[in-house]
């Protein structure tokens, strides 16, 4: 009824190739943006920001990054945690070396540095594929964590080997450190997520994205029709690592404030982001959001329900949480192997015909 393209006439090529060609989709997108930018910052408190929204926004950026690599270009990577660590440590070194520069620039530069490191570790992808590539990126994960643990220059020779985010601002508004207001940290991450999502969406719709998908679907065929695999794979690694680096920088500087590389950016982080991408849906920007929301919010919801509402012991709830999240993951993968994004796609198809299905 509401959700259909009939009657929505496009009179220019720009209008025809816009991101959301269906009017209802477009309005929904504007409403989400309006709520996220116009309403939530005014009602947000510390708990909402630090326990739910910041991790969701930051993991969504990381998931978009990994989705570019795994979902669009078909290169399996287990190095996400290591690349996030590169972003975090790059951001830390920049923050402490240039205290007067705006955080925006630091975060973007951190993303750039990570992109460079990502390209380096992406080089083997030209020769090895599939599981073997996953193992090569796994090496990146362990090497990077080891490096940041081992070389004291990265953590400014602090006694504990931890990095702590000093107070830094953007246009005079404190973004990092304990005195940063919840709305500011939220908006800061939201702006990055919005920019990253728009960028990723448009990249994947354009020439570059099509090349990536050609490589993913069949690399030999892609090469024959003129896609340069070197360029396609390395750009995918660069773009993916850029987003992951931004996520790592935000994760350290804005969300946690103090980071210990082995614990925060270990192999389990790589798996977590990979699960987000798989559960959300490979090759879908919306899927990255859905996957991040699923794996960040669900444990907290279960905890709130179990401990605060039902009053169960905390250890039982912690164990149940693992069981329930695990069971849901298996269920989703059996019932909908293409992830939450596919559910959404199917729902949209149904809506398009509603209320008169064939």
């Amino acid at each position: 009824m509401f959700y259909r393209e009939a009657g929505d006439f496009k009179t220019s090529y720009t209008a025809d190739s816009q991101t959301f060609p269906i009017k209802f989709d477009r309005y929904r997108y504007y409403v989400v943006l309006a709520v996220a930018f116009g309403i939530i910052p005014f009602i947000i408190n510390d708990y909402w920001a630090n326990a739910l929204l910041l991790p969701f926004l930051i993991y969504a950026i990381a998931a978009i990054g990994l989705n570019v690599l795994v979902g669009y270009c078909g290169q399996v990577s287990l190095g996400t945690g290591g690349f996030m660590a590169v972003g975090a440590y790059a951001c830390y070194k920049l923050m402490t070396a240039f205290p007067d520069v705006s955080m925006f620039i630091h975060v973007i530069l951190a993303g750039g540095i990570t992109a460079f490191v990502g390209v380096l570790f992406g080089l083997p992808s030209l020769r090895i594929k599939g599981f073997y590539l996953a193992v090569a990126t796994l090496a990146a994960q362990f090497f990077l964590v080891w490096l940041f643990n081992r070389v004291p220059w990265f953590y400014n020779y602090s006694a504990s080997g931890q990095i702590n985010a000093p107070e830094r601002d953007v246009f005079g508004i404190i973004i990092t450190g304990p005195n940063a207001p919840a709305w500011a940290t939220y908006l800061f991450c939201l702006i990055f997520l919005t920019l990253c999502a728009i960028l990723a969406r448009n990249l994947t719709r354009g020439t570059m994205g099509r090349k990536w998908m050609a490589i993913r679907d069949m690399d030999i065929a892609a090469e024959i029709i003129g896609v340069n695999p070197l360029k396609a794979k390395l750009t995918a690694f660069a773009v993916s690592s850029f987003f992951v680096g931004i996520a790592g920088a935000l994760f350290f500087a804005v969300y946690l404030g103090a980071v210990e590389v082995g614990e925060v950016f270990g192999i389990q982080k790589s798996f977590l982001v990979l699960f987000m991408v798989i559960i959300g849906g490979l090759g879908s920007i919306f899927g990255s959001f859905a996957g991040a929301a699923f794996l960040v919010l669900l444990p907290v919801v279960l905890k709130v329900v179990g401990v605060d509402v039902l009053g169960w012991p905390t250890d039982i709830v912690a164990h149940l949480q693992l069981v329930i999240v695990g069971a849901l993951i298996i269920m989703f993968l059996i019932l909908e192997p293409h992830g939450l994004a596919q559910l959404w796609r199917v729902a949209k198809e149904k809506l398009r015909l509603w209320p008169f299905p064939h």
Binding site: Y47, N149, L256, L297, V307, D315
Partner: protein, 427 residues
Amino acid sequence: MNKKLATLALSALMVAGPAMAELVIPDLSYRTGPYAAGGIPFSDGYNDYFTLLNERDGGIGGEPIRVVECETGYNTEKGVECYESTKGEGALVYQPLSTGITYQLIPKVTADGIPLHTMGYGRTSAANGKIFSNVFNYPANYWNGASGAINYLLNENGGDLSGKKIALVYHNSAYGKEPIRTLEMLAEKHGYDLTLLPVDHPGQEQKSQWLQIRREKPDYVVMWGWGVMNQVAVQEAANIRFPMENFIGVWWSGAEFDVEPAGEKATGYKALTFTGLGADYPVYDDLKKHVVDSGKAAGAGDQLGSVQYNRGLYAAMLASEAIKTAQEMHGVTAITPAMMRDGMEALEITNAKMESLGMAGFGPEFSVSCENHGGPGLVGVVQWDASTGTWNKLQDFMPTDAEVIGQLIAEDSAAYAAENNIEPRCE
């Protein structure tokens, strides 16, 4: 979106909960994961002491105590979530029992005006109250521990360690790295060789470290381990037949569950301590009567008298004494976190006080001041005897090298102050 709305509604309910007419103590515990072996007894002891106060005395100064437990799994992200979800309830003091989470919380509690007590762990230089206004780590810290271990070895060797080889097996995290600087300083002073052997989280894989020990044959091994890492290390030491009496663990590596898996071979293993051992204290009679027998014990109720249970009990005792001090100072019973901070800074633990609490000799006598948040730093040494299943005291609480530690604390806290633009207080 729906999930978000549901949690929004739920947490709105939580915030609009009961009015604050009680003393709220959050307990950031971990009863799951590779560190649960240490987290469970500590949290049980912490909870049981407050339950005892509620049952026997009706709380502190007539105010009932409400302990809010939150599971962190020794994970910093969950720790942040726990902190944010409990601080709004009027939390008086945080004790996360995790050095990683402590580092997260130090700036946050300082901004929010809530005290943080990291008893025998956390950031050592927080002992400098001039810089760390809201962080306390009395009665002893890691650098006291490092120095205490070296002092003990000095005594064993007639005051001379030159030419000896000492290996440090440590958890490769902020926790395990804390003592390195002190041990290096002391190595310069006393002339021993220090070998560093990091063990990665969670610590189940230590073959290569112990192979290196077997090859290099250090005279002593000092360990900074936690959770499952301890058991593995003791077992590996037994496997390579390293003489157990030359193996010393910090206080977090000296509980029953750390040595029991290695059986008879663990006899002789030594550990540091800053609290009393066993259940031979009058307070345990009250615990039995008011808490255990009425079925109100936390967890499974089977940890009474174990080493880490005693530490939890001790931590709760120090917190409740600080609450009493704060109530007397400010003349109100329903204290705020800011008053709690004042109470902790004015805390005085005397032998008479501990005796009246039924915990005579449980810990050292000490008093906290604005400058010194670290207490006296007295360290004892105990030894495991597998045949009786007990820890036996080898050395009473002894002072540590205040000169070296004081200098390191001043350096590290000055660096923190410079990084964060903190003006020293207490003048």
